[in-house]
């Protein structure tokens, strides 16, 4: 698939990456002024991933950010004020101050799911969104991110595995920034590529240079459209580096200095600016205009956030339950009749493709990691199964009867 970008798109990518960075720099200043409540996480050096991946989505598509995906939230239509007020725990924040950081979302317009702190839990949730989207005929894709460390959680495994068997339209980006808090990536998984995690689920994966926003976008776009066409989930490993500590309190002394230097030379924003210049996609004036716009917007939103009130204490008791505050109505994009009897009725039988015996297995390709298999103890090869497929068509066990 040839994926190219128009000039305005190139410039938009710059706008979001730069906005992402400028907004986080602003928050560091606020943090030093003691105006941030709780922790502050940085995505410095990882902006190309948040922006490049989310940019591949359409408005109807869904995403759920992790703590270092402010860029994705901006691309999906949230404003700096949303992020500022969240971090400052203001009443004007998307959660009214009930939760902080990137823990917010929007079910109706932007299609963003709020994460929780427990790593991995979003993967099955986004799988469910993809399944429901398919069920409702919406042709949507669900996207989420996970850290190198987060791939060690059971929830990651269960979620991707379910997505694989359900062929859910899930794009999961492993943001391999070399560290999980103080733990180097090799302590999370002893493979060279984290994309190898995909092999356990029989799903395709990409490895991409996470500090190259155009590559990230292209890979993501391809993945998103493959997903949309019903081919099941995809894992993308984006290699990058966390250029700060885990959060503001962490000086990251456990990271070799040379490693920071190495990666600083590959800063995604620098690289992209040079690329835009080299490719003559902008000139100094265009850049200046975009930078000025960003500064203006940030300034405005900063004033909004700073002058916003904290929530009233009484709010604390409200909203534990939905007591009629929401009407829940799915957005059907296919005839409901398909899903109610008699149209929906089927024969409840499994169709088993093959019988799974040892001798029926194709030898894995040479490079696969299985050790060679010892010869059968009784020295014989058994005759092939008479007809495994007899009677029933040889299809995948479940989806054959199902419209997707």
């Amino acid at each position: 698939m040839k994926i190219s970008l128009r000039r305005e798109q190139h410039l938009e990518l710059y706008y979001y990456m730069k906005l992402n960075r400028a907004l986080e720099e602003q928050m560091v200043r606020l943090f030093r002024q003691n105006k941030i409540v709780g922790g502050l996480y940085s995505s410095l050096g990882q902006e190309a991933i948040s922006v490049g991946t989310a940019y591949a989505l359409e408005p109807r598509d869904w995403l759920a950010p992790m703590i270092r995906n402010i860029g994705a939230l901006l691309v999906k239509g949230f404003k700096p004020r949303d992020i500022l007020t969240q971090h400052m725990a203001k009443y004007t924040s998307p959660t009214l101050g009930k939760d902080g950081t990137s823990h917010f979302g929007d079910l109706k317009v932007r299609h963003v799911v709020s994460p929780i702190s427990m790593l991995g839990d979003l993967i099955p949730v986004m799988t469910g969104i993809a399944m429901a989207g398919s069920y409702l005929g919406q042709k949507i894709v669900a996207m989420t991110w996970i850290g190198d460390g987060g791939t060690s959680t059971g929830a990651f495994h269960e979620g991707i595995n379910l997505a694989a068997v359900q062929k859910a339209a899930l794009v999961c980006i492993i943001e391999n920034n070399q560290w999980a808090y103080s733990t180097p990536v090799r302590r999370q998984v002893p493979t060279q590529d984290l994309a190898d995690r995909a092999k356990a689920y029989g799903i395709p994966s990409y490895v991409v240079d996470g500090n190259d926003v155009v590559s990230v976008y292209q890979v993501s776009k391809e993945a998103v459209e493959r997903c949309r066409s019903g081919q099941g989930p995809i894992l993308i490993e984006a290699k990058t580096m966390r250029m700060k500590g885990h959060a503001q309190h962490d000086a990251a002394e456990y990271v070799p200095k040379a490693m920071f230097e190495y990666w600083k030379a590959r800063d995604p924003l620098d690289r992209y600016e040079k690329h835009l210049t080299a490719s003559k996609l902008w000139d100094a004036q265009t850049k200046a205009e975009i930078d000025a716009r960003i500064e203006r917007e940030l300034q405005e939103d900063l004033e909004f956030a700073e002058s916003s009130p904290l929530p009233p204490p009484e709010l604390v008791e409200q909203g534990v339950y939905c007591e009629g505050c929401h009407t829940i109505e799915p957005d059907w994009r296919r005839p409901k009749e398909e899903l109610v009897p008699p149209k929906s009725s089927v024969a409840a039988v499994w169709e088993v493709e093959d019988f799974g015996a040892f001798e029926k297995r194709e030898e894995p390709a040479a490079a696969a990691k299985h050790s060679t298999v010892l010869a059968s103890g009784d020295g014989r090869r058994h005759p092939a199964q008479p007809s495994a497929r007899k009677g029933k068509a040889a299809k995948t066990p479940t989806r054959n009867k199902v419209r997707r």
């Binding site: 799911v113 839990d121 099955p124 469910g128 929830a155 269960e158 909203g319 409901k336 009725s345």
Partner: protein
């Protein structure tokens, strides 16, 4: 009761295509207890979803579905396995609406409870873990009528509801059910038997034990009022306090283990709301503070029975 639950699922799925089921072995097989038998045939592969053995993914996927407006009903093959998705339920599901206003209209249901020699991992009564989790609702019916009506309410509710089905009652409790749609409201206890001498509060299988005990007591001239909680969260404070104000004595009976069981919460509520009316201590008859043992004589000793309930009630009545 099993058939009542099946009917509730059936009718809700007929009524609303937003209702979908997911869990292990519930489609082709119809579920370990056959609660979902026939539903795949009728509603198809997209609405009756056999999943891998992944409780966290089951609950997680249900949350995602609910965010798109579906009303998923997730099954735990045995409710014991709910421990495997405890984080997803208590952190993701329970806090969603509070944190960012995203309602989670889903149900998690499954067979619970002891008395069938299921041993330490197939006999759980996990209700208190969730009664202690704001944002969830917890339902535990004792009759077929209630099971059907409460499950319908749970499916239609905009909040996450845990629906426990006592497997001892699945085939033992049989009732003629009214034809036609009906619901039983969440959050309302019911007085199963009127009495003046003391109140016995219970739910699920122990409700039947309590009723039997009440019969025994009646023969001795002690008239127990029996309350079936039905919903454990939110608790029906009003019905409880009204009864205590009438009988002045209260005994709580639950199959769940003793320490940290719901009897404690009820003791606190009664102290707060009706202390002056109490003519005796809030007492409790519960299972022992041990895992659920396997061998029949051990499990029999572990579980409350009619004798123990009647004895405690007798003491309290005479107090």
């Amino acid at each position: 009761m099993l058939e009542a639950i099946r009917q509730a699922l059936f009718e809700e799925m007929e009524r609303d295509p937003a209702v979908v089921l997911l869990g292990e072995d519930l489609g082709v097989y119809g579920g370990a207890f056959k609660v979902t038998a026939g539903l795949l045939e009728r509603f198809g592969w997209e609405r009756v979803i056999d999943t891998p053995i992944s409780e966290t993914a089951i609950v997680g996927a249900a949350v995602g579905m609910s965010y798109l407006g579906l009303r998923p009903v997730a099954e735990m093959q045995f409710i014991d396995f709910i421990a495997c998705c405890f984080n997803q339920l208590t952190n993701f599901v329970a806090k969603s609406h509070y944190r960012w206003g995203a309602p989670v209209p889903m149900v998690v249901r499954g067979p619970s409870g002891g008395g069938v020699h299921g041993g330490p991992f197939h006999s759980a009564n996990p209700e208190m873990y969730f009664v202690h989790t704001p944002g969830l609702k917890v339902v535990y019916p004792s009759t077929a009528y209630d099971a059907k009506g409460l499950l319908k309410s749970a499916i239609r509710d905009n909040n996450p509801v845990l629906f426990f089905e006592h497997k001892f009652l699945y085939r033992r409790v049989k009732e003629e059910l009214p034809s036609g749609d009906y619901t039983v409201p969440l959050g309302k206890a019911v007085v199963r038997r009127e009495g003046r001498d003391l109140t016995i509060v219970s739910y699920a299988a122990m409700m039947h034990t309590s009723m039997e005990a009440a019969e025994v007591l009646a023969k001795e001239g002690i008239e127990a009022e029996v309350i079936d909680l039905r919903t454990l969260l939110p608790l029906d404070r009003e019905t409880l306090l009204a009864s205590v104000k009438k009988t002045n004595k209260i005994l709580v009976v639950h199959e769940d283990t003793r320490t940290g069981g719901i009897a404690g919460e009820i003791a606190a509520l009664v102290c707060e709301g009706a202390f002056e009316d109490l003519d005796g201590p809030v007492l409790r008859v519960t299972s022992l503070d041990t895992p659920v043992p396997y061998s029949p004589p051990l499990e029999e000793r572990f579980l409350p029975d009619v004798q123990r309930v009647a004895a405690a009630a007798r003491d309290l009545a005479r107090y």
